[in-house]
């Protein structure tokens, strides 16, 4: 009888522990993966255009966009006689934002804005996660507003940057795609 009670108590205790663990796990904050990996400064730039001119959203701050090799593996397809860019899932573009239009050599950026191609992520807008990194603590947060995509949607139309996308190609929300317009070779 005593053993039976003990077994029952053990079973109830075990189930309670599992339930509690599940509850705690469900309450735990969702951790976002770090997309701008420590080696990102070695990634290639998406353009050799000097981005020191003012643009809405980043003012006149100096910017350097870099993309991982997954992104550089993308090639445009043709749709309705026009090139169409669809970056593969896993593409990461990190844009370093500096304090001034002409940062000193070795000066650290003040902010990173990151595009991650993740079309299956429910937080994705236009197939991309729009992320900012808080540099002091290294945390990356997905931006849930539509501010980023609203501006970047203009990359698929005529715009005033780089080659200006005169043929209104679909460039997958990226202003500088590899090629002549970006003054960069693969």
């Amino acid at each position: 009888m005593t053993n039976k009670c003990a077994r029952r108590a053990f079973r109830i205790g075990g189930l309670s522990l599992i339930a509690l663990s599940g509850l705690l796990a469900s309450c735990a904050p969702v951790r976002t993966a770090i997309y701008a990996t420590p080696d990102y400064p070695t990634w290639r730039r998406t353009t050799n255009v000097i981005l020191d001119y003012p643009i809405p959203g980043h003012q006149n701050r100096f910017r350097i966009p870099r993309m991982n090799d997954v992104g550089f593996g993308a090639y445009p397809t043709t749709q309705s006689g026009k090139p169409r860019w669809d970056f593969p899932e896993g593409t990461v573009i990190v844009k370093e934002i500096y304090q001034t239009p002409k940062p000193a050599v070795g000066e650290a950026p003040i902010q990173l804005t990151i595009m991650v191609k993740a079309p299956n992520d429910p937080r994705a807008q236009g197939g991309w996660l729009w992320i900012t990194r808080d540099l002091p603590n290294g945390k990356e947060s997905v931006f849930m507003g539509n501010f980023c995509i609203t501006c970047h949607a203009n990359a698929n139309e005529k715009h005033p940057y780089g080659d200006g996308n005169p043929n209104e190609e679909f460039r997958d929300y990226v202003y500088f795609v590899p090629g002549e317009g970006s003054k960069i070779n693969r």
Partner: protein, 483 residues
């Protein structure tokens, strides 16, 4: 501790529980339902207004981006004029009204380096006067959308209730050609929807439902209270009243209840019980306490030590020959009544009346002493009541010893009485005693000799005994003791 507590009636308690259960249980469900209904209605209103806001925003943004600002102005001017509940206002990022002057046209012309747009002399379009403090956040970096409630006073007391949305217009790269790239937000579209009537209707429906609920609870409380009073409380009070009457010796009361429910069954049971109690009470007048006790405790015969007191009225036979039956019965009853009172007063139990004789049984502590005291009181009573007892007196015989206590008789009629040598001896001593004499056996004298005055011993022969018996004449209490 319990005496100080206030007592509430059963009806009050049951009513309180029911009404509380109604108010708390159904009330909580109603409140939850009302809250969810209000939330759902709010959600619908908000979704509807947000969709309207989206539509307006897309329309205005499309017109503005394509450089057709005048058409955009015309659009929301028309909306403001045709839809009294909706007001659309466009603010520049610095909070001033768009199209209120020509500064934007001049700036665009300057950026383009040509006079593409003509300055105009026109009044500002209708719309809101001033933006709220949230405007700064909407036009800040990053620009944010806001959807919020912006009431002016209370909608229930003549004020206005509004839902309001701030939608920032981003200075898109393609806009920078005309407007410059030195800012992120072109302006903020403010869409304000008047929901005063919705809020009032909601408050009215909630207030009406709440009032209806409380009215229903009050009516139910009255109905249930009245029902409980009629069905439970009054019958219970009636039963209680009968019980109180029985406690005070009045067995005439009956619970007058015709219902066949549990209370009715209880009432009939109480009536039956009261009838039974009445019968038993009446029976105690005719049956000895020993018999009743035996019925209660069991009817098995047992051998016990008892003190037996016999009394007999002297000269009664000749009295009956000289007087009528009513007078005989009357005087006999007076004598027996007074003797009974004395016996019971001394803790004796009248076993039976046999004509003018009484057999009383004394048991327990100081049984012999109490029997002697009773006998002395009877003799003194006779001395004091010569006229009342019409010169009739009693002779008393007392004996003590082992007797058999048990049911004696047939299956149809039996007495629970005492039998044995001591009973016979007491009867014989009573037979020997003359009027006003008390004869006791030697065992009595041995037990209470110091408490009473005796004369004797006398040696007497009694029927059924071979040897002569030592007996004593009880004459009074020992000096210093009162009978």
């Amino acid at each position: 501790m319990g005496e100080g507590r206030r007592s509430f009636s059963l009806t009050f308690k049951v009513n309180l529980i029911l009404v509380t259960a109604l108010a708390v249980g159904i009330g909580a469900i109603m409140v939850a339902f009302a809250v969810s209904l209000v939330a759902f209605r709010n959600q619908l209103t908000i979704q509807s207004l947000m969709r309207q806001g989206d539509d307006h925003f897309v329309a205005i943004e499309t017109l503005m981006i394509s450089g057709n600002a005048p058409e955009a102005v015309g659009y929301f001017t028309k909306v403001n004029l045709t839809n009294a509940a909706t007001t659309i206002t466009l603010y520049r990022r610095d909070g001033t009204r768009a199209f209120s002057d020509n500064s934007t046209i001049e700036k665009v012309n300057q950026n383009l380096g040509l006079k593409r747009f003509q300055v105009k002399d026109r009044p500002p379009p209708p719309g809101m006067a001033m933006p709220t403090p949230r405007f700064a956040e909407a036009a800040g970096l990053p620009p944010q959308e806001f959807f919020f409630r912006d009431d002016v006073g209370s909608a229930l007391t003549g004020g206005k209730a509004y839902f309001r949305t701030y939608r920032p217009l981003i200075n898109l790269p393609k806009c920078t050609v005309c407007h410059g790239a030195d800012h992120t937000v072109r302006g903020v579209i403010d869409i304000r929807s008047d929901v005063t009537e919705v809020v009032r209707a909601q408050a009215f429906s909630i207030g009406g439902a709440g009032a209806g609920f409380f009215a229903m609870v009050a009516i139910l409380a009255l109905v249930i209270g009245s029902f409980l009073r009629r069905v439970v409380l009054r019958p219970v009070q009636s039963i209680g009243k009968v019980c109180v009457q029985v406690t005070s010796g009045n067995f005439d009361g009956k619970v007058d209840l015709k219902s066949n429910d549990e209370i009715g069954v209880l009432a009939r049971t109480v009536n039956t019980m009261v009838g039974g109690l009445h019968e038993r009470f009446e029976l105690t007048k005719y049956v000895s306490a020993g018999t009743i006790g035996a019925i209660t405790a069991g009817q098995e015969p047992r051998r016990v030590v008892r003190t037996l007191l016999f009394t007999d009225v002297r000269g009664f036979t000749s009295y009956t020959e000289q007087h009528g039956p009513e007078q005989v019965v009357s005087v006999l009853n007076r004598i027996l009544e007074k003797q009974s009172e004395i016996i019971q007063g001394c803790g004796g139990d009248i076993d039976k009346f046999v004509g003018d004789e009484i057999l009383a049984v004394f048991s327990g502590d100081k049984a012999q002493s109490r029997a002697c005291t009773a006998a002395l009181r009877m003799v003194r009573l006779c001395a004091e009541s010569v006229e009342e007892f019409e010169h009739l007196t009693v002779g008393v015989g007392i004996a003590t010893g082992s007797v058999i206590h048990g049911m004696v008789g047939s299956m149809r009629r039996a007495d629970f009485t005492v039998i044995g040598d001591s009973v016979n001896l007491a009867s014989r001593l009573c037979g020997m005693a003359k009027g006003m004499q008390i004869i006791v056996c030697d065992a009595i004298h041995a037990e209470v000799g110091s408490e009473f005055q005796f004369k004797g011993p006398f040696s007497v022969r009694v029927k059924g005994k071979i040897e002569a018996q030592r007996v004593w004449l009880l004459t009074g209490k020992a000096s210093g003791r009162s009978p």
